[in-house]
Structure formats: structure tokens, C-alpha cells
């Protein structure tokens, strides 16, 4: 019996090359420093996957991890992180998803699953109550996500939870995701590709275990507080009715909806493809992740028009906006079909849409000949071509093969369109124009996995309320979305909060955007569940530690200030329309403030003192040897001699 509760207490290690299965205890030291989930993964990745490892080689390791609150009746969702070195960006790869997979990991008896090596033939890992088997999966090769899940459930039991990859991953498209519960992908940074590169088609779980907690009195008191607040929250019903798709209209009104590849900030057909329309005309019911009290996922049925009879779960704002505004498509049915197709093939909708939109803009400029695109007329919103391209990308056919490497490599290979390839560190931008949201923009630039909002998500700036900025950060401009001052402090605060939320594996929509799990309450609930002592301060420190460790990982890979930049369009071209019209994005002052807040040097490298404060002494020696420092020394030597 461990001295702490909440955790399963075991970490599973599967070596596919040697066909070896090992378990290790979840150590208390690791828990106190990283809590779980993303923290666990980042720590192991730092230790076990050094800079020299090729992301698609057997040396890369794929890790699934959950947190201490997962599997209990804690009402704010249950997620898992999947991490490895990313084949898309070449740096830290990490993505998380909800559904029912995470809880099953705990019930099967593990906190983290680490997959190493490469199987000689297609296989799947079947974990049933601490019994792990590596089974043959030849019959699943080439099957899409939905088919694979269905076949596995038929073979191994209706109630098993399946994490699988689609054909895109098998074709090594570097932005394919790991899918659970059919339509819930951990899609960003290409974790599915890493999984497929190990010849692993699925991780299947079934567990009859349970989670025990330390202090049930405190647990239920906090849960009841949260329930009360949630049901009275002004966002409760909008989220329940529309999920995140409600953001589409909001983004259009506030002028940050990336339309036609960020050439416009408002979309004239926004009402036709909005979450409101989806809720009114398509949705039949709501669904939720494990133990979550806000059922924000929706089942839609297309009743008439094109693709009538199509049904499925979702989509969320990112995927919806990907295949509507971003590619200039005003046909909602078609967008639903595109999201469904991307899900089945196992692609990341955001990156796929960026690649397609990039090609469309090149075509509009006249930079792309018909011969280069296999005769496809890449006009904005051309539905047939969008669907055809998604399929071509997944199977790497013709023009799709170029787009299948991500927009950074596509631009390099084609030799044009580099300035309109919208990515940071190789990861494509999400659906919010940073010119209309400065804090989010800074978040994209400094995020440890590339251009993504989920590392910081400084939603407070959407409130445009200077009082909040004054109260929380002592700088009124911090919460004004078009102001620059105070954004460093804002982003640091939210990055630390997100790191803790990710490590507890709780949904950020609820914990963060609805402000239901501030750090103080996070500490209380973690203490009630685990019986270990946590405070608001120790939670903050954990957040700080995770962000610094991930930064150190990036620095070891050669990332510095020059990579913490946004694409040229956002810095140079003012927004042409919408309510943020005329804005550009000024990077440098915000970046300086952010580095200073973080205790990093002007190059974006954590200072030794900062690392010592966050108890990351083991990182110091790696940073000393980092390619950047070596290069600097070499330059200095050359200059001196």
C-alpha cells in the first residue's frame, strides 16, 4: 500500500523491440515535483530522449500519462497527455485529449505508459488489469480510426478503451494524432506519427481497478463548491449548447477570426457556419468526458443538403474554423464532412487546414501552376478540392505529398511561399489572429510546442477589463487585448497555471476559462485526493518548474530568441478589417518583458539562478553544452583570434 492516494502507483514500460514489459513505482519525489500528466511526460522526455534522437527512430519514446484526479468523481473532466519528440517540429511534442481513455489508464493500474523501441511487425498493446500483451495487428493496417476502434472492440470487448492512429500516421504524415473515443484526438505535434513509426496501431485498455482518495470529507466539500459554481456560471449554458464552437461568432465580432489564410479578420459567412447554427439545426444531443459535469461535446446529424445522413461527434471551434473561415468555405455541411474525413484518416485538422489554405493563397497570388497541383484549381472554399486534398495528404498522393510534410517543410521544398507559411517552430498557427489578441500572440511565440494557445490561453485579455489587470497583475493594460504592456506577466501567469492544470489532467475550458480551479483550490483538491501536502505556492512552483524544464528541452535542441517569433505577416501587415483593424503585432517589447518576468536571459535561455530556484540543477550542465552556447563561444573565439 503506498503512502499516497489518488495515484495508481505504477508506471508501465513497454519495449517493442525486445518485446519486454516492465513496471516501475511512481515515486513520491516525482509526484511532489511534477504532480502527473504533462509534468511526468516532460520530465521523462528530458531525461530519456536527448537532442540527438531522430523523432521517427526507435530511440524516441512515446508516453501516455494521467493525473491524480483522473478516475475520481472530480467533476472537471479527465484527460491524458501523450508526449514524444515531435516529427513535425523536431522539438518537444505533446498533446492532450479527453474522453474515457485517461480514466481507464488508472483503472488498469497505471499512472504513465512509456512505449519504447519499434516492433518488427504491426502490433497493438492490450493492457488488462496489469497484464500487458503485445498482440498482432496485421488485420488493422490501413484501417481508418473508426474502423480500427470498431474492430478492436469487437475482438477484445465492447467496453475497452482504444487509442489508435489512422492511415495518415501509417504513411508517416508528421501531423497525425492519437485518437480516443473515435473523435477525440490528441492531434497536435504528430504524436500519432510517432506511434505509427513504432509499428504500433493501437493501445487498448481495460481495467477493473479503482482509485482511492485520502480525505473524502474535504474532497466532497470542494466538489460541491465547484458544482455549485459551475451550474451558476454564465458560461455554463453557452458551453453546454455550443461547446467551443461559440467562439466562431465571438472571434468574428472581435476581429480575430483567421479568414482565407489570415488575409482577413472577419468572415462574411460567419453566421452560416457558426456554432449557433450548428446548435440550432444539427445537434441532437450532448456528450461529456469521463466524470465531467459540463457536457460540451455534441452529436450532430446532417439532415438535408450535401452529405445528408452524415453524423458524428463534434466539431470544436478549432476544427470547425479550420475548414470554414481559414479556407474560405461557407458550406457548413462540407466543413462537417471535412472534419469527419480528417478524423477518420487521423489528421490534425488545424495543420491540415493551414497547409491547404497556404496552397490556396499561393494559387490566388498566381505562384502555383496547375501542373504543380496535379491540375487542381485551388480556389478559396472549393469544397471538392478541400476533401480531395485531405485524402491526398493522408495517403501522400501527388500534390498532397508536398503538403503532407507540414507548411514549413512544404515551403522549403517548393522554394516559395515561405513568408506566408504560418508556423512557429514548425507548428502551424491555430484559429486566432494574434494581431487582434496580443497576449495569445506572445503565447504562440514562446509556447514550448510551437504556435499553440493551450500552453498559456490568457483568456483574461478577452475581457478588455483594466480593473482585472490592475487587480491580478498590477498593470491595467495586461488585460486589454490590443495593449502590449504587462503581457509578459500575463502570459507567465497563465503558462504556469496551464502547466498545473495539464499535470492534474483537468480540462482547461473549465478549470481555466471558467476559473473553476484556481491554484489554491487545485492545491486543496490535490491534497484531499493524494494525502500529500500541497499549497498554492507549491503549485505555482510546479508550474514554473515544468515551463522551465520544457524551455531547457528546447534550448538543448537549439531553440533561442530567434525562434520565439511570429510569421512576418503579423508583424508587418496591419489587420485589414474588423474591430481590430489596423493592428500589427510588435514582438520585441513583449518578448523582453516576458524573458525578464521568467528570469531568462535576453536570448531566452533560463538563467542558472532560475533553474536553481525551481530545483532543476540537473539541467544546468546540459544548457552549458547546448549548441547555442557552443556556437556563441565559437563566434567569440573567431572574433578574438
Amino acid at each position: 500500500m503506498p503512502k499516497y492516494f489518488g495515484y495508481a502507483g505504477r508506471i508501465l514500460r513497454v519495449d517493442l523491440t525486445k518485446n519486454k514489459i516492465k513496471t516501475e513505482p511512481t515515486e513520491k519525489g516525482l509526484i511532489m515535483e511534477f504532480i502527473g500528466g504533462r509534468g511526468f511526460n516532460s520530465r521523462r522526455l528530458y531525461e530519456e530522449v536527448p537532442a540527438s534522437v531522430d523523432p521517427l527512430s526507435p530511440e524516441n519514446k512515446l508516453m501516455f500519462a494521467t493525473g491524480p484526479l483522473v478516475g475520481t468523481a472530480f467533476p472537471l473532466g479527465a484527460r491524458f497527455n501523450v508526449s514524444a519528440k515531435s516529427p513535425l517540429t523536431g522539438i518537444l511534442g505533446d498533446s492532450n485529449a479527453g474522453g474515457h481513455f485517461a480514466a481507464e489508464v488508472k483503472f488498469a493500474g497505471y499512472d504513465q505508459i512509456i512505449i519504447e523501441g519499434r516492433s518488427p511487425k504491426p502490433c497493438l498493446i492490450f493492457i488488462q488489469d496489469r497484464e500487458t500483451q503485445i498482440l498482432d495487428a496485421a488485420h488493422l493496417v490501413g484501417k481508418d480510426v473508426y474502423e480500427t476502434t470498431e474492430i478492436v472492440r469487437k475482438d477484445l470487448g465492447r467496453r475497452v478503451q482504444v487509442a489508435t492512429v489512422g492511415p495518415a500516421a501509417e504513411n508517416l504524415v508528421p501531423y497525425s494524432g492519437v485518437f480516443v473515443n473515435l473523435a477525440r484526438p490528441a492531434a497536435r505535434t504528430g504524436m500519432g506519427t510517432v506511434m505509427a513509426s513504432k509499428n504500433l496501431k493501437a493501445v487498448v485498455l481495460k481495467g477493473t481497478g479503482s482509485v482511492k482518495i485520502a480525505d473524502s470529507g474535504a474532497f466532497w466539500r470542494i466538489v460541491e463548491e465547484i458544482e455549485e459554481e459551475t451550474y451558476a456560471h454564465p458560461q455554463y449554458w453557452p458551453r453546454r449548447v455550443m461547446g467551443t464552437t461559440r467562439i466562431l461568432s465571438l472571434a468574428n465580432d472581435l476581429g480575430f477570426l483567421p479568414t482565407r489564410h489570415f488575409t482577413s479578420a472577419t468572415f462574411e459567412h460567419a453566421a452560416k457556419v457558426s456554432g449557433e447554427r450548428l446548435a440550432r439545426e444539427y445537434n441532437v444531443k450532448n456528450r461529456a468526458c469521463f466524470s465531467c459535469i459540463v457536457p460540451c461535446s455534441r452529436i450532430y446529424v446532417v439532415r438535408e443538403g450535401d452529405y445528408a445522413g452524415l453524423y458524428g461527434e463534434g466539431p470544436e471551434y478549432e476544427a470547425l474554423s479550420s475548414f470554414t473561415a481559414r479556407v474560405g468555405n461557407s458550406n457548413l455541411n462540407l466543413a462537417l464532412k471535412a472534419v469527419d474525413l480528417a478524423n477518420r484518416l487521423g489528421l490534425d485538422a488545424i495543420t491540415t487546414a493551414e497547409c491547404i489554405a497556404w496552397a490556396m493563397e499561393l494559387h490566388e497570388r498566381g505562384d502555383l501552376d496547375k501542373e504543380e497541383t496535379d491540375g487542381l484549381e485551388l480556389d478559396w472554399g472549393n469544397g471538392k478540392i478541400i476533401l480531395e486534398l485531405i485524402e491526398k495528404i493522408a495517403y501522400r498522393k501527388g500534390f498532397g505529398d508536398l503538403l503532407a510534410d507540414g507548411v514549413r517543410r512544404a515551403a522549403e521544398k517548393l522554394g516559395k511561399g515561405k513568408e506566408i507559411a504560418f508556423h512557429v517552430k514548425g507548428l502551424e498557427l491555430i484559429q486566432a489572429d494574434p494581431r487582434g489578441l496580443k497576449g495569445y500572440g506572445l503565447g504562440y511565440a514562446v509556447s514550448s510546442r510551437g504556435a499553440d494557445h493551450l500552453r498559456s490561453e490568457p483568456f483574461l485579455e478577452l475581457s478588455d477589463d483594466p480593473d482585472k489587470g490592475m487587480e491580478k497583475f498590477g498593470i491595467p493594460e495586461a488585460t486589454l487585448r490590443l495593449a502590449y504592456k504587462g503581457k509578459g506577466r500575463l502570459v507567465r501567469y497563465f503558462e504556469n497555471w496551464c502547466a498545473v492544470t495539464d499535470s492534474l489532467e483537468i480540462c482547461k475550458n473549465l478549470a481555466e476559462n471558467m476559473e473553476l480551479l484556481p491554484l489554491k483550490r487545485a492545491a486543496e483538491i490535490t491534497e484531499a485526493v493524494t494525502g500529500l501536502h500541497f499549497t498554492k505556492e507549491s503549485m505555482w512552483e510546479i508550474g514554473e518548474r515544468i515551463v522551465n524544464l520544457e524551455r531547457a528541452y528546447l534550448v538543448r535542441e537549439g531553440i533561442t530568441r530567434k525562434d520565439d517569433q511570429l510569421p512576418a505577416r503579423f508583424v508587418k501587415e496591419p489587420l485589414p478589417n474588423g474591430s481590430s483593424k489596423g493592428s500589427v503585432f510588435e514582438m520585441e517589447p513583449m518578448l523582453n518583458e516576458y524573458y525578464e518576468e521568467r528570469g531568462w536571459d535576453s536570448n531566452g535561455i533560463p538563467k542558472r539562478q532560475k533553474l536553481r530556484e525551481t530545483r532543476l540543477e540537473y539541467v544546468v550542465k546540459d544548457l552549458k553544452r547546448s549548441p547555442v552556447k557552443t556556437r556563441q563561444k565559437k563566434n567569440l573565439k573567431e572574433r578574438c583570434s
Binding site: A73, L182, T208, V284, K285, A288, C289, I293, P295, V301
Partner: protein, 157 residues
């Protein structure tokens, strides 16, 4: 008789009922020891909580070779763990699948309505579960509910 009645259109499939049930009865969070089970079909987004209806004529009681299953004076199906041999015949006999065996004790887990205040009903976030008077003598077959629901959503004709 008051029973746990399910509104299938409202159920979000979150399985909170399973974990609060297991906590109320076994003091742990684990769906494998809950007395309510959510049947799920991800492909259609279909979720159906299933628990003991305490049917007037209970097929599980009839199937029990050791007479461990009986009805108590209020008409609730009840397992006498001392007599139970763990054969699992009741699990197969219950036609909605409301009974499962405890993974360690191998005795049947049957809903006791929490003594008249079912916790799953109280905690259900979407009010899909209600504790109400119903005259229906036996619940609908899950496959029938699925079929009806899909027809209602116009997923099948």
C-alpha cells in the same frame, strides 16, 4: 414503485453515476464495482445507463441455483452474499445487463436505491436520471432503445 428512470436523450455518458455509486457502496472510485453501468456506442454517440429495475418477475432470481438472490419486503432484488457461490448465472439471466460481479468477491452488485435517496440521481449533471414513480413492469431492452433513438435522430430510417 419508485425507480431510477433514465431519459436517454439527456444522458451525456459521463459515467459520473458509476463513480459516485462505487464510492457510496465501496468507498473507492471504480466503475467495475458500481451498481449502475453506462452502455456506450461511440459511433452513434449513444449512452444508456443501466441499473436494476427491480422487475416484478426477476429472471436473475429465478436463475440463481443457490437461492442467494431474493426480494426484500419492499420488493427490491437483494443478494445474500453468504449464500452466493459466484457462479454468475444471474449476470447472464438479467436481460438488460444490470448485474455484474464484484471483480474480487465475485458476488453480484445490485442497485439498492441507496435506501431511497440514490446518489447517482442526485449527482447526475444533466438530470438524465430521475427517481420517480413508474408503472412500467420491466425496462426496455437496450438494443431497442438504441434503435428507437437512432430513428428519432434520423440516423437510420
Amino acid at each position: 414503485m419508485k425507480r431510477i428512470v433514465v431519459d436517454v436523450d439527456r444522458c451525456s455518458g459521463c459515467r459520473l453515476c458509476e463513480v459516485v455509486c462505487s464510492f457510496a457502496h465501496e468507498n473507492v472510485f471504480g466503475p467495475s464495482v458500481s451498481r449502475i453501468t453506462v452502455l456506450k456506442e461511440d459511433a452513434f454517440g449513444f449512452d444508456l445507463p443501466v441499473t436494476c429495475w427491480h422487475c416484478r418477475r426477476c429472471l436473475a432470481i429465478e436463475s440463481c441455483p443457490s437461492k442467494a438472490l431474493t426480494k426484500n419486503p419492499e420488493g427490491l432484488v437483494y443478494a445474500n452474499e453468504g449464500k452466493c457461490t459466484g457462479c454468475g448465472k444471474c449476470v447472464k439471466a438479467c436481460y438488460v445487463g444490470a448485474i455484474k460481479l464484484h471483480p474480487e468477491r465475485h458476488t453480484p452488485l445490485i442497485c439498492d436505491l441507496c435506501g431511497g435517496k440514490p446518489l447517482c440521481v442526485r449527482k447526475c449533471p444533466t438530470k438524465a436520471l430521475t427517481y420517480s414513480e413508474t408503472r412500467l413492469q420491466r425496462p426496455k431492452l437496450p438494443s431497442k432503445v438504441l434503435e428507437e433513438t437512432l430513428r428519432k435522430w434520423r440516423i437510420v430510417a
